[in-house]
Assembly symmetry: C2
Homo-oligomer: 142 residues x 2
């Protein structure tokens, strides 16, 4: 039932970036890029893994990336427009309560499984809950 580490690290990184962004809003300096190294050092998360997660977030357009020296990442999208569901699916793949619900995997006991259909409704309720929770809510603790 748990979120995996990638989602956890992603949330931590996004919150860190959002905090930095907020605190630089008052100053006149442009909101700077933040490197994966800076994030990993600050949050004490494994560097390589953190870097990979940032790359994924960039690929899925949650954040912008700038390559090269002085490069890094920056939140571009409105975090209130992204749901926790979006983040989970981006990092963990399709959300499903049981393997059978994920069409890629085919379960060895699907012929005798009597709860596939009943669980579908519950699955949808869970998904809806995550869809209705924005990243901003979680990150700013609203």
């Amino acid at each position: 039932m748990q979120l995996n580490r990638r989602v956890e690290y992603a949330l931590m990184a996004l919150k860190f970036m959002d905090d930095q962004k907020k605190s630089s809003e008052n100053s006149t300096t442009a909101p700077g890029l933040i490197s994966a190294k800076k994030i990993a050092d600050t949050l004490k998360t494994p560097y390589e893994l953190t870097a990979r997660i940032m790359q994924t977030l960039s690929q899925k357009d949650f954040i912008d990336s700038i390559q090269g020296q002085q490069g890094g990442y920056r939140i571009q999208k409105d975090l209130s427009k992204i749901s926790v569901f979006d983040l989970i699916e981006a990092l963990e793949g399709p959300m499903a309560l049981v393997k059978c619900q994920d069409k890629e995997h085919q379960c060895s006991i699907s012929s005798t499984c009597n709860i596939l259909h009943p669980l579908e409704k519950l699955n949808q309720r869970v998904q809806k809950l995550y869809q209705n929770t924005s990243l901003l809510e979680v990150i700013r603790d609203i």
Copy 2:
């Protein structure tokens, strides 16, 4: 985010037992005990694992057990009174979105974790959803 196999097998077993019970209500024979072997054979789930799960369900008072030859299990409780949350906690342990929320485990990065508190609220919403869903709803597909 998935339910583990134990919960899945437990739901399957409970539904099977409930179905048997319902179909025997019309007849005059008493609702019989169902053995772990019968359940595993019918549902094509691994016998030993299935047996262990039934034992756990019995220990946690979801079902009754009768030992000895001709023994087996029987649903006793009102399934509408048991929530999916109860079942999950009985078979998977405390529900938590991240390891840190489970007090037994202590996370290595808790000193820098900035999302622990924010996730607490989401965790509670998820828990409430499962608490508000009864086993009967899932098993009878209401």
